[in-house]
Amino acid sequence: MKAHMRAELNGLAACKPWTRDEIAARAARDIPEGFYVNLGIGIPVLVANYVPAEREVIIHSENGVLGMGPTPEPDKINRWLINASKKYVTLVPGGSYMHHADSFAIIRGGHLDLCVLGAFQVAENGDFANWLTSADDTMPSVGGAMDLAVGAKQIWVLMEHTTKTGGSRLLRRCTYPLTAPGVVKRVYTNLAVIDVAADGFVVRETAPGLTFAALQDLTAAPLRRAN
């Protein structure tokens, strides 16, 4: 029996891992009013559903939408308005449209306060990988991830803590091809909220019932407790 599976049995018996929606909600809580934010495909897009209604956060979609609103009612769909995941969305009052070069000028030019992305792997040096799972992927699809990764003022990653087979997605060094080196600031997983500090991973919060030791057992890089 592998270490991570033992840990799962020991540490996770009493643990309630956060659901995908709870991960998104947990991240949403940390976004200040007035932030301009881009939300990637996967768990990140769910964040939009959890920003408190009274808090104004402006969501950017790289396909040329600034001020993206929630999914429309079926009878109110604007069929020319989709997000980066190619789902129908709405435009909030104060929103605007732009072409792709202007949209990526916003991204690359450092104007987004935050980008929330999914990932396969995050390393303790802030490197992350979210576009290729191995060197011989038949469908290498990078999209806007590399631009977002180097352009936004802050990068958060939202992902499951472990792979389907129980391997840690938090590592000393990424083994998959990088999306960008040294950019991730914080990771929200189903098990913990973890900062990426100059000297590695710092645990800020764990899922209910999860001990620090159990979390460490499930993580292939050293963790520190936040002060």
Binding site: K86, H99, M139, P140, G143, D147
Partner: protein, 227 residues
């Protein structure tokens, strides 16, 4: 009298040669000029290099252009789609070349081509495999890769409204790559849902001025279908 509106698809496609670099607008199926793609299939040009954000879904539009064997190489940011069956098969069989470009770099390279900028530096992809073999240079302590302008022989564009001077207005997120591609090609062909009188477009919201457009075809197909 200037009149860029052409009455037949054959007239719209006249002169496109084998081996041409064809820029195709759209983000997924929104803003994608499917009628022009079908026109290009009928016209028969082959050995094409296609530049588009995606590599086709199902068997229609761009996927059909690939399926009938007209495309030698595709330059795109995100070949993975809900149903990339055609591209996937051709790619696995080694019958199509793939050049994956980060979405923002693709947009900026197209914009550069239209703006008379032969090359520029960008932070995107530094330290990743997509920067391998590229010139890297430091400015103010940060590293950047040199990227070249991406020119088209032909651009196929979709717009919402057009007039006889080739001025185009877009709708919501259907703007996406269309304006930068319109400016980046030697021959730009647009399909538009509506043809309006000269002067009917608001001069403050012309998305592509007619100087970038050579031919316009009226294609009132109604609502796009997200694929």
């Amino acid at each position: 009298m200037i009149d860029k509106i052409v009455q037949t698809m054959a007239a719209a496609m006249a002169g496109i040669r084998d081996g041409a670099v064809v820029l195709i607008g759209g983000f997924g199926s929104i803003g994608q000029p499917n009628a022009l793609i079908d026109g290009l299939i009928d016209q028969g040009a082959k050995e094409l290099t296609v530049v588009a954000n995606n590599a086709g879904v199902g068997h229609a539009g761009l996927a059909r252009l690939l399926e009938v064997g007209r495309v030698r190489k595709i330059v795109c940011s995100y070949p993975r789609t809900t149903d990339p069956v055609v591209f996937e098969r051709l790619y696995r069989e080694g019958r199509i070349e793939l050049d994956v470009v980060p979405q923002g770099t693709m947009a900026e390279r197209l914009r550069a081509a239209g703006a008379g900028i032969p090359a520029f530096y960008t932070p995107t992809s530094v330290g990743t495999r997509l920067a391998e073999g590229k010139e890297v240079r430091e400015f103010s302590g940060r590293q950047y890769v040199l990227e070249r302008a991406l020119f088209g022989d032909v651009a196929l564009i979709e717009a919402w409204e057009a007039d006889r001077w080739g001025n185009l207005a877009y709708r919501s997120s259907a703007r996406n790559f269309n304006p930068v591609m319109a400016a980046a090609a030697k021959l730009t062909i647009a399909q538009a849902q509506h043809i309006v009188e000269l002067g009917a477009l608001d001069p403050e919201k012309v998305g592509t001025p007619g100087i970038f457009v050579d031919r316009v075809v009226h294609v009132p197909y109604g609502e796009p279908v997200v694929t």
